[in-house]
């Protein structure tokens, strides 16, 4: 087994065993773990408090109890988080931070407190007026109050020094991930959509310093290999996520390479560096102000279509796959703008509706195959 295979296998294991990773971390270090719901929670605060931030992105669970708490027409992530909460799957977490990302997410923290009263859930409200000075200060104060709540619950304190240090580490990790995406685009034979996702997903269940070392080594090993652009379509993917695994395998089956992404679970987490400021909380507020192109963030200028178009041009991609998570209102509202921008730029795109709990992806097979044939015929 090559070193690349070893790293990828380790990442795959991490990505598929979040609960085990949390328990292992807690037993080995004696430290605490805090759940982080998508998507603009500034997990640096948790890291700076000496705890493991754990991404909560739902999961491929069977939905039964979730509908006791939320409507059936909630997105997969909301339903899965509710299901796992009701089943006590988050009991190893010492707290959970939950932002009001959208209308659905607004009620989830309340319901989680009912479903699992023993796990504290801390709400986070981020502003629409995020770019003005008052908005930056408001965001900084929200993150500050989270650090205080975490301290009350866990006893772990965040200092300015520790938060600055965590921000620097995260900046480094995020840059390494963006670099990995660029290098991976030139190694389509090794980094298929499935493996690319394992690299991203594993970042949510280990400390960033460990993940950074793995990604840097993987990228270095990949860079030493001959360039391989693949024989299939080279696309940019946008949306919330590309789960479940079956969907990723289907992309792989038709030879797709993800040359860049605009996924909430992936590059939207990594692409905006945290700017400088003497106050580390203001730094995080400034980052939220600087962030562009997310359906869950107020954007009067509707820049997302342009951001995606620029990715296509930079990577010379063949097209774009828009993955709409079923019942995700913010993504559905963004789609007409993205569609218009892509059509104006003459970039072909495929609209695919997905669910994290899809047991069968056969409905999507024809669409992905036809889109691949369409791109390769051009």
């Amino acid at each position: 087994m090559s070193r690349i295979d070893e790293i990828l296998k380790e990442m795959e294991y991490i990505a598929h065993h979040p609960a085990q990773m949390v328990m292992k971390f807690k037993s080995e270090t004696g430290k605490k773990a805090v759940g982080i719901a998508p998507i603009h929670c500034a997990e640096e605060v948790v890291h700076a408090a000496g705890m493991l931030p754990v991404g909560l992105w739902g999961g491929q669970t069977t939905i039964t109890r979730a509908t006791e708490y939320v409507q059936a027409f909630c997105c997969s992530i909301a339903k899965a988080i509710m299901e796992l909460s009701a089943a006590g799957a988050y009991k190893h977490l010492d707290a959970i931070i939950f932002p009001e990302t959208c209308d659905t997410f607004r009620v989830i923290p309340l319901m989680m407190r009912i479903a699992d009263p023993l796990t504290p859930v801390i709400g986070l409200v981020l502003p629409d007026n995020r770019k003005i000075q008052a908005g930056i200060e408001y965001t900084a104060n929200e993150y500050r109050s989270i650090s205080k709540r975490l301290e009350e619950i866990t006893g772990n304190k965040v200092t300015d020094e520790s938060l600055h240090a965590s921000i620097e580490l995260y900046n480094k990790h995020h840059a390494a991930m963006m670099n990995f995406f660029d290098v991976a685009a030139d190694h389509a034979d090794v980094i298929t959509p499935y493996w690319r996702h394992q690299v991203v997903k594993s970042s949510y269940y280990v400390l960033k310093e460990k993940h950074l070392a793995m990604v840097e080594e993987l990228t270095a090993e990949l860079s030493a290999l001959p360039v391989n652009k693949g024989k299939g379509p080279r696309v940019v993917v946008t949306g919330i996520m590309t789960e479940p695994d079956q969907l990723l395998h289907l992309f792989g089956e038709f030879g797709y390479t993800f040359v860049a992404d605009d996924l909430a679970q992936s590059s939207r987490q990594f692409r905006t560096p945290t700017p400088e400021d003497p106050d580390p909380f203001i730094r995080l507020g400034k980052r939220f102000a600087a962030f562009e192109g997310c359906s869950c963030v107020c954007d009067p200028d509707k820049l997302r279509g342009k951001i995606i178009t620029d990715m296509v041009k930079k990577q010379q991609a063949d097209g774009v796959v828009v993955l709409i998570l079923k019942f995700c209102d913010p993504e559905e509202y963004d789609y007409p703008f993205i569609k218009q921008d892509l059509e104006d730029a003459g970039i072909p795109h495929l609209y695919l509706e997905i669910e994290q709990q899809m047991d069968s992806v056969e409905q999507l097979r024809t669409r992905l195959q036809a889109f691949s044939e369409m791109l390769m015929d051009r």
Binding site: Y351, E353, R365, T366, Q369, A370, D377
Partner: protein, 259 residues
């Protein structure tokens, strides 16, 4: 050179044998689809019609919903690419294809050279498909083939507002129970299919000439309702059920000729 296209749908199996990529020497439709004896029977009948054996066929391409499980082909290609190829061959001026099959409704946009430039399909739901018409025909105690004739006798249209096939079925039952005339309800059913597919067409943008294919294209009532809804004339593809298989046979010819 002989090539073959096999199109295995959810409701029927179609086979076309082409000579030199031009002349259709066999075109067979068997009205049962994937998971039945349909594909094998259609293949056998096509070979018999053409008077040839499987070994005389240079290349076979399979398409349609059942393409993944059919073992007698050299390659499989998606039905979207095949329909585009087949329809463009029959009607070169085609820019938009509306294909309504047993459980799929698709709208395919072609560029001036006949290549697919965009497409949309119905989402996980039988509304606006052949299956919708089958369910409604059963409630009305007629065969699908009789729907057109019945619809022509309509004096007015009873609108069917439910999108969901199951809800629409109970809506039709209650309309009939309320004393609405069968033909008027059929006109409403045709309108319902047309409206559903018109919504899909709007997403890719309609460019004439518009050609309709698939089993449902044989129902003139739906075609008329669609023309009214989309406000454009619609050409019904000759051999509308065979366009996918024809496209597959044409692609098989092109691929074989390249080698």
């Amino acid at each position: 050179m002989l090539t073959m296209g096999v199109d295995i749908g959810s409701a029927s199996s179609k086979v076309v044998i082409l000579k030199d990529g031009k002349e259709m020497v066999a075109g067979v439709v068997v009205p049962v689809g994937t998971g039945t004896s349909g594909p094998a029977r259609a293949l056998q009948q096509a070979l018999e019609t053409a008077g040839v054996s499987r070994s005389d066929i240079t290349k076979v391409i399979v398409t349609g919903y059942g393409r993944m499980t059919f073992e007698g082909a050299d390659e499989q290609v998606s039905e979207i690419t095949c329909h585009a190829k087949g329809v463009h061959h029959l009607v070169p001026s085609t820019r938009t294809i509306i294909d309504i099959g047993g459980q799929d409704a698709k709208v395919i946009k072609l560029d001036e050279h006949g290549y697919v430039s965009n497409f949309v399909m119905n989402e996980k739901c039988a509304a606006g498909t052949g299956r919708f018409l089958e369910v409604m025909a059963r409630v009305l105690e007629v065969s699908v083939g009789e729907l057109q004739e019945l619809g022509e006798q309509a004096e007015s249209i009873v609108p069917i507002s439910s999108t969901c096939t199951v809800f629409a079925e109970s809506e039709v039952i209650s309309q009939l129970a309320a004393g609405q005339k069968g033909p008027d309800v059929v006109a409403g059913i045709h309108q319902s299919v047309a409206r559903r597919v018109a919504g899909l067409a709007g997403r890719v943008g309609l460019v004439p000439d518009v050609v309709m294919t698939g089993g449902v294209a044989q129902n003139g009532g739906v075609v008329k309702a669609m023309e009214k809804e989309l406000k454009v004339p619609i050409i019904v593809a000759p051999k509308s059920q065979l366009t996918g298989a024809l496209g597959a046979a044409l692609i098989a010819y092109e691929k074989a000729a390249k080698n």
